[in-house]
């Protein structure tokens, strides 16, 4: 129960405003840059500032004049795309957590030192490999040795099993690449070690009480902070990840729109960017709140 005193309300509001300001300013900068993109389909009478104004109205106001792209409503496209994108991101992070959490918690039991060293060693060898390379190598392994070709098309039409099968390579590539698993594992391991050395945990042990809920509670904040930073990282690289697997998510749509030499689909680009930036905003806001709330030193 948080008693919302004046002090606290002010702080939450401040965090909200700070993150929202970042969101709007980033969107603004993207509009500015987007207007610089050379586009042969735009008549030369339209000046740079008119383009910027155009894009700003699209992104800041939900104006429905620009609501069609091809034969589909932009809102439908973005909805469909975001479903796919976020499935990929969150599933991969879920798998990473499932692997890293027990492995990192093993520090607590102080046994299995050999396993820990082996695990950490292999991880640090594999983790500098970026997602792109992992994806290529994994596709290679599966196609050449397994003679299997999971394509995105199968995902759309298939049942649950096919979908899981198609998701296998992307999720594995994201989980293993760019040190995501390694960062989670290291963080969990370090925080567990820190908690285990706290005097109050030893006192809890001395009273005969179980320590697990205390350890897990101490891990919540660090895990969430790492999670939000990895989500930001994955979103910033979403275009390449989706391109490799031909995954029709938001990033792929952005790439396709920017790639066409003629008229580029600006409302689609801006809509996708809006959704992505909003996710980043959401997670950093929640992270700021949790840092503030779960930090025992700030409890007065």
């Amino acid at each position: 129960m948080i008693i919302m005193s004046n002090d606290r309300t002010k702080n939450v509001l401040y965090l909200l405003l700070k993150n929202a300001a970042v969101f709007f300013i980033s969107l603004f900068i993207i509009c500015l840059l987007l207007a610089l993109v050379p586009d042969t389909a735009i008549p030369s009478e339209i000046s740079y500032f008119e383009r910027v104004k155009d894009y700003l109205t699209i992104s800041y106001l939900f104006s429905y004049d620009y609501s069609v792209s091809g034969n589909f409503l932009i809102s439908e496209l973005i909805l469909h795309g975001s479903k796919l994108t976020f499935t990929l991101i969150f599933l991969s992070l879920l798998i990473v957590l499932i692997i890293a959490l027990p492995a990192g918690l093993l520090v607590a039991s102080e046994k299995n030192a050999m396993f820990q060293k082996l695990f950490a060693g292999t991880l640090s060898l594999l983790s500098p490999i970026p997602i792109l390379i992992w994806a290529s190598l994994l596709m290679l392994l599966v196609f050449v040795f397994g003679n299997m070709v999971p394509l995105y098309i199968d995902f759309e039409d298939g049942d649950f099993r096919t979908r899981m099968f198609v998701l296998l390579i992307p999720v594995a590539a994201i989980a293993l690449g760019d040190g995501i698993l390694l960062d989670f594992y290291n963080k969990i391991r370090d925080e567990t070690r820190k908690v285990m050395n706290e005097p109050w945990l030893k006192a809890v042990k001395a009273r005969g009480l179980p320590i697990y809920n205390h350890v897990l509670r101490a891990l919540l904040l660090p895990i969430f902070i790492t999670l939000s930073s990895k989500i930001t990282y994955l979103i910033s690289g979403i275009i390449i990840v989706e391109y490799i697997f031909a995954w029709q998510g938001l990033g792929f749509m952005i790439w396709r729109s920017l790639e066409t030499p003629g008229a580029k689909d600006y409302p689609l680009i801006l809509g996708s960017v809006k959704v992505l930036l909003f996710t980043v905003f959401l997670f950093s806001f929640i992270r700021d709140i949790l840092t503030y709330k779960l930090n025992p030193q700030l409890m007065k």
Binding site: I29, P128, S136, F143, T232, S236, I238, I240
Partner: protein, 392 residues
């Protein structure tokens, strides 16, 4: 200077030398490095070709046309007589190509011959041999046959054989360019563009971070705000837009890379400086009369931030390589006439379905090697300079 070198640093330096060597090669011999050969030729080493053997060699059982007897008993050994070893798929002009179909014992029970093949290929003394000469370059469809002595059945295998003037150790891609040459040629984009990114990210981060950590005035608040904004723009989108706006000039994209890496560096330096600014010695130094800049740079940064800066430099170079590869892969970076690692990966990606893995595998290895060289060198060097701190 600490003489105790650790393993990572040495390994990293070795890999870095290899990378720089490739760069030098690429700059001096840029056009003649990429040799041309038969398209889609597998790597020459038998080890690498074993991967291909997962694809079935077509095998046919052909009955002797003029025999009216149907073979009833199948000899126990007959199954083994079928070519029990997989043939090598590549041959080099001037070197003997040799294929030993099966073990000694079984060979004596059957006869082998060449059904379809280049002139000069024959079966002699237990092996198919052929020495291609300079006119016999290209892809050949080979068909070799065997017949057991007491049987009417003829078994044959078919495969494709590539012969070229040079032994392409890493194979060739769909256009016939040697993968090794492509890898070396592509390396010229690996180190040089990184310098711009490093300049902006590391040195900009150093000065801005130090300034905002040491002072608490309006400018440092502006720097903080700018850091926040830069952190939240999706990086790849920024690179995209930079590439598209400035017509795929990789150096401008590197400026954007530097800007994207700036916030993290600023934060690290700022937290280090903040940690020390409250110490007693800063106040004492000010009272003695040292200038602010002197305290900041000589005392705080020089003593504490060296390992940080070195690892930042290494990470920036590695990130620059990755950005360049990514953009080329998406066709937004180095455009097609120029060779880059991303381009090679893109060209090879569609051929994986045919089992032609070498176009993607070896460039991936080279990319990993170059990244590792930077990471290991940076890590090792920063450990050397500050052996107390544990870097994970």
């Amino acid at each position: 200077m600490i003489i105790h070198l650790n393993f990572r640093f040495i390994l990293g330096i070795m890999l870095l030398f290899i990378l720089i060597g490739m760069n030098v090669f690429a700059f001096f011999f840029s056009d003649s490095i990429i040799k041309n050969g038969t398209p889609a030729r597998p790597p020459s080493l038998y080890l690498f070709q074993k991967v291909l053997y997962h694809q079935p060699i077509e095998e046919e059982t052909v009955e002797d046309f003029f025999s009216f007897t149907v073979p009833e008993e199948i000899d126990q050994d007959a199954e083994e007589l079928i070519f029990s070893r997989n043939p090598k798929r590549t041959a080099t002009v001037g070197r003997e190509y040799r294929y030993v179909p099966s073990s000694q014992r079984l060979r004596s029970k059957a006869s082998f011959w060449v059904e379809e093949g280049p002139s000069g290929m024959k079966y002699e003394d237990g092996a198919f041999i052929w020495t291609p000469d300079t006119t016999q370059i290209g892809k050949y469809d080979i068909s070799l046959a065997t017949q057991m002595i007491d049987s009417e059945t003829i078994r044959s295998i078919r495969f494709k054989l590539f012969s070229d003037k040079k032994p392409f150790y890493f194979g060739t891609n769909e256009r016939g360019n040697s993968v090794l040459g492509l890898m070396i040629a592509g390396s010229k984009w690996s180190i040089l563009p990184g310098f711009i990114a490093v300049l902006i990210a590391v040195f900009g981060g150093l000065f801005l971070g130090a300034y905002s950590g040491y002072n608490k005035n309006l400018s440092s608040n502006i720097v903080d705000g700018a850091t926040l904004v830069l952190e939240s723009i999706p990086a790849l989108l920024l690179f995209f837009l930079a590439a598209v706006i400035f017509s795929f000039n990789i150096y401008i994209v590197m400026i954007a890379v530097g800007l994207v890496l700036l916030p993290a560096n600023i934060n690290v330096i700022k937290s280090t400086v903040k940690h020390f600014v409250d110490c007693q010695f800063v106040e004492s130094s000010k009272e003695i009369g040292f200038a602010d800049n002197q305290i900041l740079y000589r005392d705080i940064i020089w003593y504490n931030c060296k390992p940080i800066i070195i690892s930042q430099i290494a990470n920036c170079f590695a990130f620059a390589i990755m950005v360049e590869v990514t953009l080329s892969y998406l066709q937004f970076g180095i455009q097609v006439p120029e060779v880059s690692w991303g381009n090679i990966l893109l060209q090879g990606k569609s051929d994986i379905y045919k089992g032609e893995y070498w176009m993607v595998f070896f460039p991936s290895l080279v990319i990993i090697m170059s990244l590792l060289s930077f990471y290991l060198t940076g890590n090792g060097l920063s450990r050397l300079l500050d052996p107390r701190k544990n870097s994970t």
